[in-house]
């Protein structure tokens, strides 16, 4: 019953009578702007039973959406941290394939993510080797190229 539909004002028909045309999902309809006379052509308004009740504030809408986007960020950061912790600080060891070797440091691929590990304990290594890594250090060579 209290349904309100966002519509864009496209034409001012009769300013004195407060009549305008609004586009609602591609359909043009006469609406009264008697309750919302500050609305101008191009503005978005909320329409209820043929009356524009309020202007829709685009900035506020974007702000709400941005706030909601950020809401998940703490969680996603946590997921990233957990995933990264496999190499940097977790208890578990993961297997990783060597992509490039640069002295005592190798770039490895862990489930599609690139990480750096120290390879002093398992030298020599070359690209294609599979290493068991823990806390940023390769502990064992589990497969050679």
């Amino acid at each position: 019953m209290c349904l309100g539909i966002p519509a864009q004002l496209v034409e001012l028909v009769d300013a004195e009578a407060g009549l305008a045309k609004a586009e609602i999902s591609g359909v043009r309809r006469a609406v009264s702007i008697a309750l919302c006379p500050e609305a101008e052509v191009g503005d978005w308004v909320l329409v209820h039973v043929g009356f524009a009740l309020s202007r829709i504030d685009e900035e506020q809408a974007l702000e709400t959406l941005a706030l909601l986007e950020r809401m998940g960020e703490a969680y996603e950061q946590e997921v990233r941290d957990i995933r990264e912790s496999c190499i940097t600080c977790g208890d578990e060891a993961v297997t990783a394939r060597v992509v490039r070797v640069d002295g005592a440091t190798a770039t490895v691929d862990v489930d599609g993510e690139r990480e750096q590990v120290g390879v002093e304990l398992v030298e020599p290594v070359e690209p294609g080797d599979v290493l068991l890594c823990h806390a940023g250090i390769a502990l064992e060579k589990v497969g050679a190229k």
């Binding site: 019953m1 209290c2 349904l3 309100g4 966002p6 864009q8 999902s25 009264s32 008697a34 309750l35 919302c36 006379p37 978005w44 909320l46 209820h48 039973v49 043929g50 009356f51 009740l53 309020s54 202007r55 829709i56 504030d57 685009e58 506020q60 809408a61 702000e63 709400t64 959406l65 909601l68 986007e69 809401m71 998940g72 969680y75």
Partner: protein, 369 residues
């Protein structure tokens, strides 16, 4: 559609669900009342009840104006519609609501001139085009709809349209909320307040809930993301022990509401001493009537109405559904004797009624835990 599609994003819904999962205390159920029937509809249409953690229990409130009109007023409307000189105009929602003598749709089938309109201005236009007939508009709705009736009355007076009148049944949102908060044995933790009523009356109207009853309130828009967002805001208040009125619908609702709309209502209508609500009984100062200054356009003054009172059918438990005391499927006639095709109670008539929402979206019995 702009300002709609963005607020139906599945990705945002998943973020909000995770946020809620982190906020609820396992095993502690929170009962949140969504006051407005539009919110009830969104919750079931988009399956939000299944998305949120089991600890969140949405309780459906009395904010469906069609559902709270007592049967006696429907009979009055039918009596008006059956007068040969009358063209009776109504929003579509009211057509199928049963009174003691059937519905307006049935009266139309018997020959009454009942017409569906989208806006009260359409009813006024009918009056202009049919000067030899009396056009009566069935004015129902909360503060969202009352300004439309008010502007139409002002215009009827300005243009001296003498064959138009309003049968005023407008109701106000705060008194039934107070009645629910005062009803014994009902435990609620917070309120999802109606966004479009608030567009008119502002956010201050709910202060008494936070101040006197110590329950948090969030004014909320109507898309699924909005309702999830409001749920997060309410649960966060409860977690932090806060209790204030917050506004989730900042893109439309201003703290002061729409002063012009409030002024139009005040100029044309005044509070009734008391009004009967279906299921809730008589509530003081809870409805509006046309002011004496506009008596010429008041159908209750222009025509003699039967004004009878009709008891709700004994089997019907709409009253308990309307205050959230029982779920629709707990009513003894839900889905058997009472269906949308053949409704006994009003909660099954309007698409925003809690029973119709449960029925149409397949919640016909208890959801297995």
């Amino acid at each position: 559609m702009r300002f709609v599609d963005e607020f139906r994003s599945g990705e945002l819904a998943r973020k909000l669900r995770r946020e809620l999962e982190g906020l609820v205390e396992p095993g502690r159920t929170l009962k949140l009342m969504e006051v407005c029937g539009g919110h009830t509809h969104t919750i079931y249409r988009h399956g939000l009840e299944d998305l949120v953690p089991a600890e969140i229990d949405y309780v459906h409130g009395p904010g469906c104006p069609v559902c709270v009109i007592p049967m006696g007023r429907v009979d009055d409307a039918i009596a008006l519609a059956e007068r040969p000189e009358v063209i009776f105009t109504t929003f579509g929602d009211m057509m199928r609501v049963p009174g003691g003598r059937g519905s307006l749709l049935e009266a139309k089938a018997r020959g009454a001139d009942v017409r569906m309109v989208y806006s009260p201005l359409d009813a006024l236009e009918l009056a202009r085009r049919n000067p030899d007939r009396q056009v009566v508009f069935f004015a129902i709705g909360f503060e969202t709809t009352a300004p439309a009736t008010a502007v139409t009355l002002l215009r009827a007076r300005a243009e001296r349209i003498g064959n138009f009148s309003a049968f005023c049944n407008h109701v106000t949102i705060a008194p039934p909320l107070r009645a629910i908060l005062d009803s014994p044995g009902l435990r609620l933790d917070g309120f999802i307040a109606p966004g479009h009523v608030s567009t008119v009356i502002g956010t201050g109207a709910y202060q008494f809930i936070a101040r006197d009853y110590r329950k948090p309130v969030v004014v909320t828009a109507f898309e699924p993301i909005d309702i999830l967002h409001a749920t997060v805001m309410l649960v966060r208040q409860l977690r932090e022990g806060r209790c204030v009125v917050e506004n989730q619908y900042t893109r439309v609702v201003r703290p002061e509401g729409n002063p012009r709309a409030i002024a139009a209502i005040a100029e044309t209508m005044e509070l009734r001493d008391t009004f009967e609500w279906r299921g809730l009984g008589w509530i003081e100062s809870s409805a509006l009537r046309v002011r004496p200054a506009f008596a010429e356009w008041d159908a209750e003054v222009r025509f003699a109405l039967p004004g009878g009172r009709i008891e709700d059918p004994k089997a019907c438990q709409c009253g308990e559904v309307l205050i959230g005391a029982i779920k629709p499927w707990e009513c003894r006639v839900f889905g058997t004797a009472c269906t949308p095709e053949r409704p006994i109670g009003t909660c099954m008539v309007s698409s925003e009624g809690a029973c119709a929402a449960y029925y149409n979206y397949g919640r016909r019995n208890r959801v297995p835990a």
